[in-house]
């Protein structure tokens, strides 16, 4: 009888119910909120649902030593997490993004690319903010990249600069990306007048197939010669786009934009979510990262809008300054937000197509920004 009681006691003490404390409960609630936002509110469901479920997976209290936790070197989750820590998944996601993205609007109106550059101010101002709050330079660089509003880029750079912060930075980046429809509109409205929001954009010119094919090659060479550290991300982005535009490689493009990106998104989301174990994630630093992340998105949005207004001082054909908000590279959500805010003033004003130009240039800009930070911080680690 005693043996049975001992066994039962041991079993009960090894269950999650016995090992859990309030921190695990908090994280499980956060995971559920992610799943709720993804499914019910449809905020970035392809990301929030895997991450949310990953948070649940990572916060089941497990017996240490059994090889179950993501931070245990012999666990299955740890092997899957290798794709994150080694920076394998983000370039593969960029391959898929490249194979999905149509750069036509950017090629038709290259001037709008400057808005994508302006929005990257968010990265560097957040970097300064993180330094001011006492983070080490490499950690500050990783936190700053949240301002690029690009999840894969944030994960890639954090894996290189500050692997200990992957969980909070990835969750912050994806949370705020999902919350772009909530964060951006008040800033956009605050910084623009009604007249400015009513500005209509000129119809873009038709872009030839030749241009679309040449662009990924020229863009890749130029960007990677300028910032070689951006090679893994931009190389895959432009390669994916070349596969799409070349037509003769349509099968590869289809694989990149469906099977590959979907598989990697599942693995990335799940493992990033699982990396947020309560004992690792719930720290004061994580709170600071979330505060800085929110500031980063706000600064990036404001920088883009203000720069568009500055450009209007010199342009004959004015651009709608709302487009500046699309410079943050949350593709295509921030472009959709621009369309939505523009149509609140004038339902017949269609800005989505125009907003895609700064939006995709923001992807390039944030990858260049990540490359720059990586090269600056490499000798400080």
């Amino acid at each position: 009888m005693e043996n049975i009681i001992d066994l039962l006691t041991k079993f009960v003490s090894n269950t999650g119910f016995a090992m859990a404390d309030y921190r695990y409960v908090i994280m499980i609630v956060i995971g559920m909120i992610f799943i709720y936002l993804g499914i019910a509110k449809q905020y970035e469901p392809l990301l929030l649902v895997p991450i949310g479920f990953g948070i649940l997976v990572g916060n089941i209290p497990v017996f240490k030593g059994l090889g179950l936790g993501i931070y245990e070197s012999n666990s299955v989750l740890h092997y899957l997490y290798f794709g994150v820590t080694a920076g394998v998944y983000p370039p593969l996601i960029f391959l898929g993004i490249g194979a999905m993205t149509d750069f036509s609007t950017m090629l038709a109106r290259p001037l709008l690319m400057l808005l994508g550059a302006a929005a990257q101010m968010g990265i560097f101002l957040t970097f300064l903010g993180a330094l001011a709050l006492g983070f080490a330079p490499n950690e500050a660089g990783a936190i700053g990249i949240i301002g690029g509003a690009d999840g894969p880029t944030a994960i890639f750079l954090t894996a290189k600069l500050a692997p200990n912060l992957i969980g909070p930075i990835a969750v912050a980046a994806y949370s705020y990306m999902a919350l772009v429809p909530v964060i951006q509109p008040p800033i956009m409205k605050l910084l623009t007048s009604r007249e400015e929001r009513l500005i209509r954009m000129e119809e873009p010119r038709v872009v030839s197939k030749q241009e679309k094919i040449i662009f990924p090659v020229v863009g890749f060479l130029l960007c990677c010669f300028l910032a070689p550290a951006a090679l893994p991300l931009l190389g895959m982005l432009f390669f994916g786009n070349l596969l799409k535009e070349a037509v003769v490689t349509e099968r590869l493009a289809v694989a990149a934009r469906s099977a590959i990106i979907d598989s990697v998104t599942i693995l990335l989301g799940l493992t990033v979510g699982a990396s947020t174990q309560a004992d690792v994630f719930l720290k004061y630093d994580s709170v600071l990262i979330f505060v800085l992340g929110a500031a980063a998105f706000g600064v990036a949005t404001a920088s883009g809008v203000i720069f568009a207004k500055i450009m209007n001082l010199f342009l004959k054909a004015k651009i709608n300054p709302l487009l500046g908000a699309a410079g943050v590279s949350a593709v295509p959500d921030s472009a959709r937000v621009v369309q939505h805010v523009g149509q609140q003033e004038d339902p017949t004003n269609f800005l989505l197509m125009h907003a895609m130009a700064p939006n995709v240039s923001g992807v390039i800009g944030s990858a260049i920004g990540a490359g720059i930070l990586w090269s600056f911080m490499a000798d400080r680690m």
Partner: protein
């Protein structure tokens, strides 16, 4: 270390300034290249037309030389008739005056052409002679 002191200590201002400058430079250069790309491609597509046009222009440019040569010959013939009245050594102002009186076309430029092509040359004594 926190605050502005931490930023300065880690060279943060310079990193941020250089970083954003590089991003701007990269995307600006890319946008300039893209803005010219369609023009380059259009030029390339129409290269045969452009070549034909250039070829035509070169041929046309050769014609004026021929025409000029013809004009000079005609001017020389007309001026020679005038200098017959003035003698073998003649002053240029007098020749010009005579050309104007006789109503020759563009006497100044025609005389200039004759001087440039060395059909009329100074005789070293303040007068001019036909170059034989």
């Amino acid at each position: 270390m926190t605050g502005l002191e931490a930023i300065a200590h880690h060279n943060g201002w310079a990193i941020a300034a250089v970083g954003i400058s590089i991003v701007f430079t990269g995307l600006t250069v890319l946008s300039i290249i893209i803005s010219q790309l369609h023009k380059v491609l259009t030029f390339w597509d129409e290269r045969k037309t452009h070549y034909e046009r250039l070829k035509d222009r070169w041929q046309k440019e050769e014609l004026p030389d021929f025409a000029l040569a013809q004009d000079i010959e005609e001017s020389a013939r007309q001026f020679r008739l005038l200098t017959d009245r003035l003698g073998e050594h003649f002053p240029l102002p007098k020749l010009l005056e005579l050309a104007q009186k006789c109503g020759l076309a563009h006497p100044h430029s025609a005389m200039n052409d004759l001087l440039i092509t060395k059909r009329i040359v100074p005789d070293g004594k303040g007068y001019f002679v036909w170059n034989k």
